[in-house]
């Protein structure tokens, strides 16, 4: 098809001089945008490698004049990063298991098992999408307190699967798996549990990996809620710890601060660059939620 070759502009448009110039301007703007996206990331990286006096010099320079790799060592020793990292990963792991098991089962049941009153049950789950979280943030905290879950990982793990949005994504995906698959299994004598664990779960790995990225980024990014729920240093996830000890810190050299920020920023960037495709697809799915 020849018509696919064009965009809004056709090859005829490119031949006009004014259009060419306009297009160049647009490209320049895009390049500027890309630059402004990459600049802060690189600044953090390079500032983490400068001597402290150089970071504080004015006007700032982009590249370091001397490379101080020992800043990263100092940053690593400044606070107990491995413990916080472990906490973040604990939260992520538990949240993911809960999401797969609890929401996976519910989505499978809603999608394939045709229980009576299914629509009403689905509605019961979905209506929570329309209640903005910050309206019940305080009672939510008090509720966790009443349940005695404060300062425990269960305070993250249990509510992790109370997400109508993830349920929606899962159900939509499982809806797309053919019924015949499960019918064949049933004829062979498989129970519902076996249908779920041996057929539905393996076939849903794409959607689970998309969810894993969502869950990971929440666990990695969320600093505010953990700072309320957890009370002790040894239980803070990474983001909260960085907020408490790096962002709010008064006496911390800027270069060390940037070194720590770079270390916190790199894992999600690497995850993103590795799983780009999943993330971009997840974004299309999640587009409805924003």
């Amino acid at each position: 098809m020849k018509s696919v070759d064009r965009g809004i502009l056709s090859s005829y448009d490119y031949r006009k001089k004014t259009n060419k110039l306009g297009f160049l301007v647009v490209i320049a703007v895009i390049v500027a945008m890309v630059g402004s996206m990459l600049y802060p990331v690189l600044t953090a990286l390079f500032n983490g490698l400068k001597a402290n006096t150089e970071v504080n010099s004015f006007p700032p320079r982009f590249l370091p004049s001397e490379w101080h790799f020992d800043n990263y060592e100092a940053g690593w020793n400044f606070m107990n990063l491995p413990v916080f990292l472990k906490n973040t990963l604990m939260i992520f792991g538990g949240n993911m298991i809960m999401t797969v098991v609890v929401l996976g089962l519910a989505a499978f049941s809603l999608s394939k098992l045709n229980v009576p009153y299914q629509r009403a049950i689905y509605f019961f789950f979905m209506i929570t999408l329309f209640i903005p979280p910050s309206t019940y943030i305080i009672p939510n905290f008090l509720n966790l307190k009443d349940l005695g879950l404060l300062n425990t990982y269960a305070a993250f793990w249990l509510p992790a699967s109370a997400s109508a949005f993830y349920l929606l994504l899962l159900k939509n995906f499982i809806d797309g798996i053919h019924h015949e698959m499960f019918e064949a299994a049933r004829i062979d004598g498989a129970s519902d549990w076996k249908c779920f664990s041996l057929i539905a779960v393996p076939l849903s790995i794409p959607i689970f990996s998309t969810l894993a990225i969502f869950v990971f980024s929440t666990a990695w990014n969320d600093w505010f809620w953990p700072s309320l729920v957890m009370h002790s240093d040894s239980k803070y996830p990474l983001a909260t710890a960085v907020y408490k000890y790096v962002i709010s810190a008064q006496r911390l050299n800027l270069n060390i601060r940037f070194a720590i920020l770079t270390m916190v920023m790199l894992p999600p960037i690497l995850v993103f660059l590795t799983f780009q495709k999943f993330i971009m697809r997840g974004l299309q799915l999640g587009g409805v939620k924003g």
């Binding site: 064009r6 965009g7 809004i8 647009v26 895009i30 890309v34 996206m37 990459l38 802060p40 990331v41 500032n47 004015f58 006007p59 700032p60 609890v102 929401l103 098992l113 045709n114 229980v115 049950i121 019961f124 789950f125 929570t128 329309f130 209640i131 903005p132 309206t135 019940y136 943030i137 305080i138 009672p139 905290f141 008090l142 509720n143 307190k145 349940l147 249990l158 509510p159 109370a162 349920l167 129970s191 519902d192 779920f196 990014n221 600093w223 505010f224 960085v242 907020y243 962002i247 800027l254 940037f258 920020l261 916190v264 920023m265 993103f272 971009m280 974004l283 299309q284 409805v288 924003g290």
Partner: protein, 307 residues
Amino acid sequence: MNQPAAVSKPLDTQVQRKAGRWKKHVSGYLFLLPAAIIFILFLWVPITKGIIYSFYTIDFVKGNEFVGLDNYKTIFNDPDVWIGVKNTLYYMFLCLIIGFWVPILFAIAISELRRFQGFVRVAAYLPNVIPAVVLYGLWRWFYDPVGPINGVLTQAGSDQIAFLTNKSWSMISLVIMETWQQFGSGMLIYLAAVLSIPRDWYEAAEIDGAGIFRRIWHITLPSIRGLVLLLFLLQLIATTQGFQSQLALLDGGPNKATLTYSLLIVKYAFTRLDYGVASALGVLMFLVLGGLALLQFKLNNKGAAKS
């Protein structure tokens, strides 16, 4: 001899089938049970408790005490609440005029790129994956009096701007920071829509003599109108609740210039320890936002019916 057996056989299977169906439903409901319990325990219970608590004074030591509408009276007599509402509206307004059109524009521009489109997409989305705390650390330095932005300004010969400590700049600075971080995800959503517009339409319009801007105005924009409206609503819903960057970077200051309504809820609860009033503030917010959420639901359904 054979006949009764032949009659009873289908009956048997019928009974069996009934039992089987019952069994099937048992496991179906069992599968739903954990999710239902968790939704009730961690969503419905807090939501109901919020409404109940809004009529109580919460005291962890002495126990809760019913105070009727006192919490609501406190709210209506508190000048901070009006400041919060005003700041939230201002924040929403700024997010619209600074942030809303950016992803649409870039989506259309990037859709025209023939080469490096993938790279540009990845670069545009990159800030989204930077953790919020890192973002705060970075931008606090950018906005610093001795940071790079003021460095450029000084070299250009103009006055420095106190981005964070100047009352009239602080909210704008926050919105610019958030736009920088978040525009990529919106852009990618728009981009997918722009790229799915049939190219033939442009061809036809061009043959009819439509210029580039008329093609964009009459074909591209109408094609993504539904999406624009949806993201507009989502942005409204999201921005009414914004408080984290205001809290982390400025703690509502300077002089309450970035004290949004949601931040006030948090402050009532965790600095004034007045959970009752905080719950009441939440209930009021819910009443206002409920309308918006319903609108989004309707739009969503329309979109689902279309696609």
